[in-house]
Amino acid sequence: MIVSHNELTGVVNKAFLGMRRTCGEADIIANMVAGLQMVGLNGIGHFNNAAQFLTVEKDCPVDIFTTNDGGLVVDLHGCSLACHLPVVIDYAIEKMVGKKHLTIELKNCHNRWLAYNELVKLAAKGLACKAQWNNGSSPQNTLYILNQGCVSPELFLSDHLDVAGSQLHDMTIQLSVKNFDVAGYSTGYTRHIKSSELNSALRDTWNDGILVDDVEWETLKKTATAILVENSEQSLKGAGELV
């Protein structure tokens, strides 16, 4: 079915608020999901996945360590990246002052596709970004490169890369004041989703509405009902009815 952007962000917002978490911002997470869904990358599916764990996983701040070479290692304690990435990026940008390059190693995190929209925002800050992660299921290897001034990233996927020492719940983000060599870094990846395809999908979606999977949409809407309060005689008065 087709839904609107406002409808999608509204439902995700309610769904997240219903989880009553301390960490994480409903409006930002709603835009993470919408941003991904609008380019055809299953934002709702990723959020629905996350939703299964968000009410039970830890709800605490991340721990950030600085490495000897000035990089950051962030322990997310097995939590969803959706709830913590904005804080980490803010911190990383502060640490970029006076540097040309910064590496952020995110450890013990989930839902890494939901980083898509937050990383897109970096281009507006004049930074290039490269993110890489490995997964237990297909696609097992993902590379995201967004160079300065771009609206959408170049995405590279593969199921066959043997990345030494790779962890399945980590993500590496590199920020740089210089653009990344797309051709060089993408060697070996089997599938390329071009920035131009994502831009085109985004444009079409604004015109035609957002295509969503009916089952995923129903799941999301059901999650969003957790915030609703059952009716009572008192609640009717709370609406302002003259009773």
Binding site: M1, I2, V3, S4, H5, N6, E7, K14, L17, G18, R20, T22, C23, G24, E25, A26, D27, P61, V62, I64, C83, H84, P86, V87, V88, D90, Y91, I93, E94, V97, W206, N207, D208, G209, T225, A226, I227, L228, V229, E230, N231, S232, Q234, S235, G238, A239, G240, E241, L242
Partner: protein, 569 residues
Amino acid sequence: MDARPSTCGGTYMRDPETVMAPERLGAMHQNRISFVRSLVRKMAQQNWQVTKHDWQLSPQGFGHVIYKLTTLNHVYHLVIFCDEIADEDRNDRVIAEKWDVTFALVYGDVDADLLGRLRANVPLQEAGRNPNKVLVLARANKSVRVFEHLVSHLAKGQQPNAKELAEVGYILRTTAVYGNGKFGIADFGWLETNDDFNQSFSAQMCAVYILREFSLDWIHYIANQQGGEKAVSLDVDLQRYLGIGNATGLGMAPYLINHPCVVDKWLSSRESALTAVLNSSVTVNKLESLQRLLQKALCHLDQIITINEHQDDLNTTAIAELDDLLSKLESVLLQSTNWHELVDYSKEYSLETQEILLSCLMEIYPDLVDSYETKMNCDESLNLPSGKRIEDLLMVLESRYRWAIDTDFKQPENNYWFWYRSQDKEEPRLGVRGEEPGEDRELPLDIGRQAYRLYHALLICKPNMQLAEFLVLHPQYRAIARRVWTLGNKDMGEIQMNVLHKTALPMHLLRCKLAVFGATKFDPRSERWVRVTFFQGAPLLNEIHDGEWLFPLLPTDSLNQAVAEGEAS
């Protein structure tokens, strides 16, 4: 007058503490850049054409009607469905499921397939799904009393009793007008590149304006069906006097809290326009126009009939004050250099009177005001710039959020209410904390309390600590920190209201938004919902103009008739 240097131009703007005080927002009136006024001006200036495209009603007035709107570059259709409903199903609340009239404003043409799809979905409203070429989805109920009175009289060849019309002021009353992607319709993001409806809520206002024309066509049609050759048309002055009613409840209040940048933009643009006027030199040639408008406002308030005693008292006070102001206006102006001196003088009056004066002053300076009608849209993102420290945010809180940080949220009266969404169509409601169920699912509309908590969390940190570092340790404050920083650096910023306070009146929020839209005749039905009219006094489509129609009045002949009837009864 409270004033501080504005951010540009070297002029003076009123202080946000003055402008954004809830009681003052709750006294606002329509002005030249209210959305209904901007829309009608644009329609007149660009010569938009509205025609009856399809009229498929039964003799009883049930069926569908389509109006075609042709603008400079586009074509739209307002598709209206009229259904027979039982009196007991006619309910203004959002939880209603049937309405006399449901309608949709559609971009482009409406073919048989699309019409079928609209027929199947528009009458269902929230329960339907509509294509994204639908820009507005809405519904309305009849004022049964006015509807029947008009039809019965016109069918018999008689003009209606003006008193009956004056008490209500409309034939149809909208109970929800949805835009911006609700229930699958087009997002406002899509309309931002549309020259016709790229201003906030302009598509909704246009749909309601055409509905007003339909309401008149509808009663004429049914009167003709019933009366045949005997039937007459409603007096044109009375047609103009009838607008579209609207019932608005608590559901509108969270919008204002959840869209703070929008509210800031609306109020900042109004304030900028007003500032341009208030900094102008007083000129004698404006006196007559101002007197006429103030007199019109006085008569308008005098004609309002409301069941709400508080509003009635406010209107009575304002009538007396306007009379007083009119008697002194010329002498005050003789002693004034700029208009803000008159506004200073008016501070001895109630907020209702002060706000009326502001609307009148804006009205007499179209050349200074009208350009602000295109400055009502904004970027809604809430951002924290990099490089900020605790002390920077504390400074913003201490200068712009005193209304929040000076509130003692440990006191029960400051936390009395909690806001929640009900299972009934997700209707926003208020509950008493500690007494009613739902507190565990409280909506985060408690901006004052969040700012207060942020402030106290910041106070225990070193002032030169980086904000980004603070937020790593306390991520729960990032959302409110973004909001405080963004709004604290805007001209007007937040509505300065603790919506949890025991005596907080959501009505102030409703009134503010409705006034920005251009509503008139505020008739609160409780502390949480209000009836108003839109387009009352506005030109009819066949006489549309870009002139003034502030403060609608009963036509003089009808007024005399109403007075005579009042004296006789």
